[in-house]
Amino acid sequence: MTLNRNLNRRFVERDRQWHPAAYTPGYKTSVPRSPSQALVSLQTPSVSELTGPEFSRLRMGPHDNDLLLNFRDADSPGLPVGERVIMFGRVVDQFGKPVPQTLVEMWQANAGGHYRHKKDSYLAPLDPNFGGVGRCLTDDDGWYHFRTIKPGPYPWPNGINTWRPAHIHVSVMGPAISTRLITQMYFEGDPLIPICPIVQTLKDEEAVGTMIGRLDMARSRPMDALAYRFDLVVRGELQTYFENQ
């Protein structure tokens, strides 16, 4: 029974000045979807907040982390169009401690900027060989990787002429629901990053830096794929005096 350990577990407080505010009028949809009341702070988080699901028994398919192959079938046996990319990194907590066996999920548009989603009507075509979803568990040292294509930028109805930078949506669970996080990875050097209203929901340039995938030539595969490194940092678990119990 892990109840005692879990109940004495604490996480570093989430800095809500660092994360985007709920109400960010430059990103118009946030205006009616942002709470106007203050959050109620739980001074004593309980087992309900300090535990979370663990997914090592979730049966993954052989290509769940390989978007070049995981939408392949008899009708579309080819490879997707686009720049072949390895996206990899490490999930660590705020103390630099690796987070092993945690679920990392990602989804993205195809090389033309079109999502395989029934609500996406952008005129760039769908790619018959590309689905756009991946998932994996981190290894014992917190590493994850995906093989995919670089998504295209796409226009969206916010301003008259607003474009999303190329991005991959990334979801990570971490050790508890307290560490749950969804973010987006952007590609180093993309000129659309600083003018994106969703990126601009962040006030701090350094916070934007935590969402940038960096080109890593050493990890690239010659004549095959470029590699982008994207480390994920989740809330740190504070060590308490009950930890050896």
Binding site: Y27, S34, S36, S46, Y115, R116, K119, T210
Partner: protein
């Protein structure tokens, strides 16, 4: 702008990766059938309890409503709850009769309701001797939501337990506590009792959201 340095320096702590909205196409990644994608062998979805799960099998359902009173049709929700005995089952396993974790989404068409099939959770004793009333933790992701929202669902037929719950008690306004209480009604799908709770993101009847 710099890559998070994996060796903690300065104040001995790294900064958390910043949050971004899950966007309108969150379903591609976390709710494949809703996006219209073929599902993989095992998906995390909204049936937390199978027929043979211990406890009272129930349905919980509701809508998500924005500050204009409009339905939020692209929300994704995650549930985290104890089993009927008040224990969390942390090892997610689709072969198990009960899982503490599940996902659901509001629908693009029709009444836009999210829905879970689960069992009514047990009460949970805290080390300080106080008991939390049966509840389900809910996390809400959506386009326009920059950092996910965290709330709890309680049950209207647990009057006494709710009155003693330290978390409900932490909400100063008694009227606002009511925004977390799901109402029981008969006639859920398959004859299950259904508890209904609408989540209001903003304005009149705004749901209480927690920071923890």
């Amino acid at each position: 702008m710099q890559q998070p340095n994996l060796t903690p320096t300065a104040n001995l702590m790294l900064r958390e990766t910043a949050s971004q909205t899950a966007g309108p196409y969150v379903h591609i990644g976390l709710a494949l059938a809703v996006a219209g994608l073929p599902e993989r062998d095992e998906e995390i979805w909204n049936e937390l309890a199978k027929d043979n799960a211990e406890g009272e099998r129930i349905e919980v359902a509701g809508r998500v409503i924005d500050g204009n009173g409009d339905l939020v049709r692209d929300a994704l929700l995650e549930a985290w709850q104890a089993d009927a005995n008040g224990d969390y089952q942390t090892a997610f396993d689709l072969k198990a009769p009960f899982n503490s974790f599940g996902r659901t989404a509001t629908t693009a068409e029709g009444n836009s309701e999210w829905r879970f099939v689960t069992v009514k959770p047990g009460a949970i004793a805290r080390p300080d001797g106080r008991t939390m009333a049966p509840h389900i933790n809910l996390t809400i992701f959506a386009r326009g939501v920059n950092l996910h929202l965290q709330t709890r669902l309680y049950f209207d037929d647990e009057h006494k337990a709710n009155a003693g719950c330290p978390v409900l008690g932490a909400i100063e306004s008694p009227a606002r506590r009511q925004t977390l209480i799901a109402r029981r009604e008969e006639g859920g799908e398959g004859g299950l009792p259904r508890y209904r709770l609408d989540i209001v993101l903003q304005g009149e009847g705004e749901t209480v959201f927690f920071d923890f």
